[in-house]
Symmetry: C2
Amino acid sequence: MPERAFTAGLRLDRVRLNISESTVRRLSFYLRILEKTGDAGVDTLSSEELAERTGTTAAQVRKDLSLFGSFGKRGLGYAVPQLASELREILGLDRTWRVALVGGGRIGSALFEYGGFRHRGFEIVAVLDADPAKVGTIWGDVVLSDISNLEAVLRAESVDIVVLTIPAEAVPDVLDRVVAGGVRGILNFAPVQLRVPSDVTVKDVHMVMELEALSFALSQTGGE
Amino acid sequence: MPERAFTAGLRLDRVRLNISESTVRRLSFYLRILEKTGDAGVDTLSSEELAERTGTTAAQVRKDLSLFGSFGKRGLGYAVPQLASELREILGLDRTWRVALVGGGRIGSALFEYGGFRHRGFEIVAVLDADPAKVGTIWGDVVLSDISNLEAVLRAESVDIVVLTIPAEAVPDVLDRVVAGGVRGILNFAPVQLRVPSDVTVKDVHMVMELEALSFALSQTGGE
DNA sequence: AGGTGTGAACACTTTCACAGCA
DNA sequence: TGCTGTGAAAGTGTTCACACCT
């Protein structure tokens, strides 16, 4: 792995440091804003401006960034393209990730159709489902595989990340085989707790739970 | 030692108390587990068992529940149907919520197709889009409306919650009109920060940011 | 004995406030 | 002067440990 002398010390720190979930989510948001303002021809942004556009505070922005290095210029702010490039490297977005979609049902096909993943470097290289009627159908430039070949497909395609959109009942069996297939990152849409080895990272997207949280919030304020 | 008021006052406290995001998300998860185990014929669950199934700790479960009342029986645990019913009431799920889907593009139509919302009491009563070619098309039992009628449709259908699946550029204008339409809950899929009055609640679903968080996690451990 | 409810301790995150540099 | 980078303070959320009840 190539190292740059300039930031070499910081690079090493970051594996030891415990970077919080919330910090990472904000970094991703900062990057989005930087790309957007960069396209608009702006070449410098202050922590204050970044904070305003991402709904946080200037101090928070500076703290988040300072965990990884000193990217700003005092009195000026941050150089947009440079910081964007740093963030891409920090987030591991300076490469393409190979993604398998496990579950070709409604959510699965929706995510595939959506297409927003590919633009940001997440390429769907395989789609799998248990339904024999779906196996062999063409999805974009991918042929849907039988989930019984899960491990083999994951290894053959060098899959880094699995997007899991199967029903809750199917999870225990499929999850074991995803892990056995060497995958260490899972984006989970099934409304169950995934139990995985500590070297596997899971991020959950639970839309219904978010709706229920809205329901809670509306009930609170509405009842006053 | 100061004497505490008897538990009768807790219901009232709950509007004043600040319940954290994470607590609400866990409550929603507890409810799911309770419904699942209830269907399986189990009628008592300990905090330990609930914790195990939701990926948290027994102390956390008890703390979360104790914010709203004393629902358990010492030495026994929690009665499944009773606690489920309490949680539904706490979360405001003892009613139906009227939802409008604003944005009939890929994500929007995917969410509509998905159908998982209706089962949990979130009924989609309107779909809106700016594309003239889509206006008038039939979505289930709903006719897609022109987004230029947004406020009127929201009021006519007594919409409680908007699911926002429009492109980032369209957000500022549409958001103002959603708020003007009297909606106080928004499930946002657009990758921008929504600025809303304090009586409006927003929950974000940012799938690409979750993928980027996975990318970060994989880059960290992979480099060691 | 067994498991809840809860104050107190602890850990983590955010905000403050200001030194230091362009 | 303007804005970053960062220790210290404040605030929030989680875990511990045990009294208490069935």
